[in-house]
Symmetry: C2
């Protein structure tokens, strides 16, 4: 048995213990966006640091103005010359509302069969606790068999990924020397389908904004004031309705500056993917593509920018009815960005677009919910080729170079602040229900994910 | 001292006890729209029935599928021939949110000075508990001095006025004989200004609707689905933005059918009122009239129909940010109606307008939050002239015949079901903050309101 086969065998023999450790991590209620869960986030960070130390990766918890970071380091095999990698994951999770749509407690993970497939249910199982554990468990197996890792590994676990990462940029700047490594490995992405290993080489950026419109100085009776009094819900809905034209294009001036069309090669590769747009939409109960009419569904998700309304609120929304004209109305809006779109320029254009449409006797306030540019990796990058070969060994199928609609702003920050490229390998599936009720992670995703990282670490250690 | 002067003197001598009884009534948390307050509504009805019996008006509590009614009857002076009146008020109140904007507990009434004027604070002080008590206290004084009322009086107190009055029409139909009187007296309106007694002869009708748009079958990650997945907030904001044109007119087909322009006489009377549109808007922190551009602010509020958005909700609206595409979004919309606009035809037109704009793979559900037509009373109606003279005696100023923007659907139902006109006399003021935080009722409104009803009852008893 070669060394890597011994490590893989150890993974297989100890998978039940790995699953128990995943359950333990999922039980922490680490919802980063809600201040009520601050203490839970801190406990999650403590737990991860303690686990890393157990494995033999010297780690500690670093305080930030927000939720803490976990940082760890381990030397590699001294006889080998592989790159020093920084592995990144996030331990925080999305809120759980609407809680009534969950089949089970989101923080009491269960192993159940769904459509004949064994899965673990719970908030964060897929995004990102299960995924970050695939890497930790691969390191654990290496350490158990060899007493050391094949290459030097540093770890960075963040606790604010789901809430705009406010502490991340200052933290990277303050710890630039400690965290600048040869390459970042990130496990927060998915596979093209359940049998096709995937490396994500294009990620959309994200701009998060909140608009708060104030009209009258108090809530008004709609009988006494309805008509001449400005209604902030009307102002807001008019502004939002103005943001797209009849072809689904965003109308904010300059929004498409820096958007790049696909190269003919990538377009050909994507057209060849067995992507079923009707099945993709059918799965979520829809059948008519929304968004820009000029692009395919796959392109819309993976290579086109968007301006989406993530939340809106104003006036009375309880049971029954209240004939009120509200004083305030607000909306949360996020733009997915691609190519060389500049998030800060788009923020300014967005705010100007809104301000122009607010009546002179009303006012608007904006809240900044984070901004990160899009990311793309060249297909010629050597670690990418090694990673793809390792994945092929595990899955017996060529790895695809994917685009991904989601945003991982960290990837842009790693490039800008630490001068480091990121290789995004993940095992999540489209039906994992991340950010939704009944989030789950397949046990196979977890098990083969751990095995995949064993092979990737091994491949990177080779000359 | 004439008999009426003795009654008025009794009112003055016992005003402190009247104020204590008002505080007692305001302390009941009778929020009708919220099922959590069902028991409180029942207790309020019990209390009022008990008080009426104490005065000598035989009353009881009548169960309905919703909150109970209170019905009472008292014979008048047998020697006189005045009309038998039905007095109507409502004991339920609006919700209290946003509670953080109240200066004091809304259900712990306090007597305080505001701008040098003595007021009682609390939810319902003006709308409508203080107002209905002006009539009860007038009856109490009459009974104390004379042992009887000058005319026969029946009482109807409702507990669902603030939540669309779902039980009212069935109740009126079932109790038609008991409740059909010569004339209804309603105390749920205001004065033109603090010194001008007013009888409201035009009331806007009300149509309440809720739109619930469903797009995907679950909440979606805006990165994985943003672009091709229909966003219900976008659909809803587009529909709402379509409902008005650039001149502030409602675009729903047929909406203006039955709307009547003012007669030249009424227009001249209204133009002569010392109504200061800038002060009216300035008081609520605004300066630019919204709504139909072709009409004055006073006309907009009192004689024009509206379509107002009273509440909107969808997606994530908690602290922080969530990059979600919601499955559902909803809005509460109310139309104020005038003239002969037909609420049920407008409901159908409204729903058709919305349905046409919902994509074929999404769905819409509507909730019915009540419908009532507009109301107007002829200036030649004899009781109206008697009422106006009685008010002039109390306030030393001619009573104005007003329009009012608010809706009291009961007035239409009294006409349609019980064949009875309604005379609307109220003492609320524009700054009473009804339906808003810090609702109040001036002690002078209360005191002179009681005295006014003494005089109106006396006037109606005359041939």
């Amino acid at each position: 048995m070669s060394n890597i086969e011994a490590v893989l065998a150890h993974v297989d023999e100890n998978i039940d213990a790995s699953i128990e450790r995943m359950k333990e991590l999922v039980r922490f209620q680490s919802i980063s966006t809600d201040p009520a869960y601050q203490e839970e986030c801190r406990k999650t960070a403590d737990h991860l640091a303690s686990e890393l130390n157990t494995i033999g990766i010297a780690a500690d918890v670093r305080v930030t103005p927000g939720h803490p970071m976990v940082v760890g380091h381990a030397e590699g095999n001294e006889g080998k010359a592989g790159p020093h990698v920084l592995f990144y994951g996030h331990y925080d999770v999305q809120p759980i509302d609407p809680i009534e749509l969950w089949d089970a407690d989101p923080f009491d993970p269960q192993i159940v069969e769904k459509n004949g497939i064994k899965v673990m249910t719970g908030r964060g199982t897929s995004d990102d606790k299960g995924q970050l554990l695939t890497f930790m468990e691969a390191c654990r197996a290496y350490k158990a068999i060899n007493g050391e890792l094949p290459i030097p590994v540093s770890i960075l676990f963040e606790g604010e990924e789901e809430s705009g990462s406010p502490s991340l940029v200052p933290f990277l700047n303050e710890n630039k020397e400690e965290l600048s490594r040869d390459l970042a490995l990130v496990c927060d992405t998915g596979m093209f389908d359940p049998t096709t290993p995937s490396i994500t080489t294009m990620l959309r950026g994200l701009l998060g904004e909140e608009i708060i419109i104030t009209a009258a100085n108090r809530d008004l009776h709609s009988g006494m004031y309805g008509g001449p009094a400005a209604n902030p819900i009307k102002i807001l809905t008019n502004i939002l309705a103005d943001m797209h034209d009849e072809n689904g294009r965003v109308t904010i001036p300059g929004f498409y500056d820096g958007v790049e069309e696909l190269t003919p090669e990538v377009k050909a590769q994507w057209d060849a993917l067995p992507f079923d747009a009707q099945a993709f939409l059918g799965d979520i109960g829809l059948s008519i593509p929304a968004g820009e009419t000029a692009y395919s569904v796959y392109e819309l998700v993976n290579a086109r920018p968007t301006c989406e309304f993530n939340g809106i609120t104003g006036g009375y929304s309880g049971d029954g009815f209240k004939t009120v004209i509200a004083s305030k109305a607000s909306a949360k809006v996020s733009c997915r960005l691609v190519g060389k779109q500049d998030p800060l320029k788009i923020r300014e254009a967005f705010r100007a677009f809104v301000r122009e449409r607010v009546p002179a006797d009303c006012s608007v306030e904006f809240l900044d919910h984070g901004a990160g540019p899009a990311h793309s990796l060249s297909p010629d990058y050597p670690p990418l080729k090694k990673g793809a070969e390792a994945l092929k060994d595990e899955w017996n199928k060529d790895a695809v170079m994917m685009g991904m609609g989601g945003s991982i702003p960290i990837v842009g920050e790693f490039k800008d602040i630490l001068g480091m490229d990121s290789m995004l390998i993940g095992f999540a599936l489209d039906d994992d229900n991340i950010h939704s009720p009944n989030e789950k992670y397949n046990i196979e995703s977890y098990h083969k994910g751990i095995r995949s990282w064993v092979r990737v670490l091994n491949a990177l250690a080779k000359d």
